[in-house]
């Protein structure tokens, strides 16, 4: 039996001055702040190299330098801001409407058993519908203008918000509610002081999901009927075979997603500093 497996080896090893072998490493998450940046840099370099060496057609996959150039062009000719403003406005209105409605219904379902009994089957039935499939219907109802786009985004955001909200209320520790009841706190105070802050982590996690959904839906809605917006811009560039401009639009969407994620992270850090 090797010394490392022999239970009596400890005393023998120490008398011989042999160090104890470290066996506790691994299975822990370490921070590598530069790894992601390095990976991006390598990916971009490989892409640029492949283009320059003629391994990829610049018509179908333009090099990152061309995409960057197109992005600079978008900034200088003002099209970036024009399209971004239109998309951000649609996301903001649709997301706020969907979130407000979703939170209201989610709270009702989280608190009242009857609302939950009615709401769960309805949410289960409507949630899986791809919301973009409803855009033609919303166009019939609300016209080709902005309201149909708001409705698509709002509808897409509504159901995940409902689910996130009532699930978050279910996660509020019941012992805290019993404590409040035992001290005679009124129902409204329990809601305000315990249920709402207790559900906040789950609700904010839901925001992260619905922000991504809003971004996906705004692009899809803009591709169907919009003059301005990143979705319309990307579609137009594709139609004109301007793949560098198309990818610059996609890059803007990616950066927009990152920016929204960062804002939500800051919000979580601010509101959930007690965790």
């Amino acid at each position: 039996m090797p010394d490392s497996l022999n239970p009596t080896a400890v005393s023998t090893a120490s008398s011989l001055g042999q160090p104890v072998r470290f066996r506790g490493g691994g299975f822990t998450v370490k921070r590598h702040p530069w790894a992601a940046l390095a990976a991006f840099a390598v990916l971009i370099a490989l892409w640029e190299g492949a283009s320059r060496l003629g391994l990829a057609s610049p018509l179908f996959l333009p090099p990152p330098s061309a995409v960057g150039h197109a992005l600079v062009g978008m900034v200088t000719d003002g099209s970036l801001w024009l399209n971004l403003k239109a998309s951000l406005g649609r996301i903001a209105v649709g997301w706020v409407l969907g979130t407000a409605g979703g939170m209201l219904v989610g709270f009702a379902m989280g608190i009242f058993s009857t609302a939950r009994a009615v709401g769960v089957p309805l949410v289960s039935a409507f949630f899986p519908i791809p919301k973009i499939a409803l855009l033609p219907l919303f166009i019939l109802w609300f016209g080709i203008g902005e309201p149909s786009k708001f409705a698509t985004i709002g509808f897409g955001v509504f159901f995940p918000t409902v689910i996130a909200t009532y699930s978050a209320i279910d996660q509020v520790p019941r012992n805290l509610i019993r404590m409040a009841q035992s001290f005679g706190l009124p129902w409204r105070s329990i809601l305000r002081s315990i249920v709402l802050p207790g559900a906040l982590p789950g609700i904010l996690a839901g925001f992260r999901i619905t922000a991504s959904i809003a971004l996906i839906l705004v692009v899809a809605a803009e591709m169907i009927g919009a003059e301005y917006g990143i979705g319309a811009f990307v579609l137009m560039a594709g139609n004109l075979m301007q793949t560098d401009t198309l990818l610059a639009g996609v890059l803007v969407l990616s950066l927009l997603g990152l920016a929204i994620g960062t804002v939500l992270s800051q919000l979580e850090r601010r509101l959930l500093n007690w965790r």
Partner: protein, 257 residues
């Protein structure tokens, strides 16, 4: 304030957890309730505190409510039940928010509870920054803020280490010496019961029935003295004898189920 429990039975669906409990808790008395797991100790406390509705029987309180009492029957919880998003002083202040108190009185109640529990320096801290013992002190300060007439303590020391338990038992003793608050104290720990209680109620395995009510004759303040140890050891043996038989039978029943 006195607590009168009469023919109390409680069922969760088909499962009877308490059966025919008759009990009187005298003014200023500390009654410890012990018994095997699942015998309905916490349910009894929940019913006494009005947060569990009994299946049958009655539970009443009698007597004067002291001046300034905002919540006559007040819980101290095993898991502390602190709001993690509120500071220590805001946790204590939570239970005063719905009472029409002046700002000065509210402040005085919070500060006095925090000072008595040695938490003044930590009033701005969040619960996550405190040790288990300090969290329970916040729970006690919160209970004191409403100036209760009766305390219901649900294994308040069971989540704490042995040293912290000792320190908090001293705090409880000091509290009772000053306030003479009636208390129903649920515990698994015979030593806590022997140190703190006037009487010990031993519940049988489920469904919980009163096996015996044991009076501890030795005055509370003398129980740490060597002369008291013989009597306490005798009571402890008797309680353990009662508990052990019930716990063994409960274990066998759980294994069979």
């Amino acid at each position: 304030m006195r607590l009168l429990v009469s023919d109390l039975t409680h069922r969760y669906d088909d499962l009877t957890v308490l059966d025919g409990i008759d009990l009187t808790l005298a003014e200023g008395e500390i009654l410890a309730v012990i018994g095997p797991s699942g015998c309905g100790k916490s349910t009894l406390l929940g019913i006494a505190g009005g947060i569990v509705a009994p299946s049958s029987g009655s539970i009443r309180v009698e007597g004067e409510v002291p001046d300034g009492c905002l919540n006559p029957i007040t819980f101290i919880f095993q898991d502390f039940a602190l709001l993690p998003w509120r500071s220590v002083e805001d946790n204590v202040g939570l239970v005063l928010e719905h009472h029409p108190l002046s700002a000065a009185e509210r402040r005085e109640r919070i500060d006095s509870g925090l000072r008595r529990m040695g938490l003044w320096e930590f009033r701005q801290a969040l619960p996550k920054q405190l040790s288990g013992g300090m969290r329970q002190r916040v729970g006690i300060a919160r209970a004191l803020a409403v100036r209760p007439a009766m305390l219901l303590l649900d294994e308040p020391l069971s989540a704490l280490d042995a040293q912290t338990r000792e320190l908090l038992m001293d705090d409880f003793l000091e509290l009772w010496r000053r306030e003479k608050t009636t208390a129903l104290y649920v515990t698994h720990n015979l030593d806590e019961a022997l140190r703190l209680a006037d009487r010990v109620c031993v519940l049988s395995r489920r469904p919980g029935r009163i096996r015996e009510l044991v009076t501890i004759e030795e005055p509370r303040e003398r129980r740490q003295e060597p002369s008291a140890q013989a009597h306490l050891a005798e009571v402890r043996d008797r309680l353990w004898h009662l508990m052990k038989a019930e716990a063994q039978m409960a274990d066998r029943e759980i294994a069979r189920a």
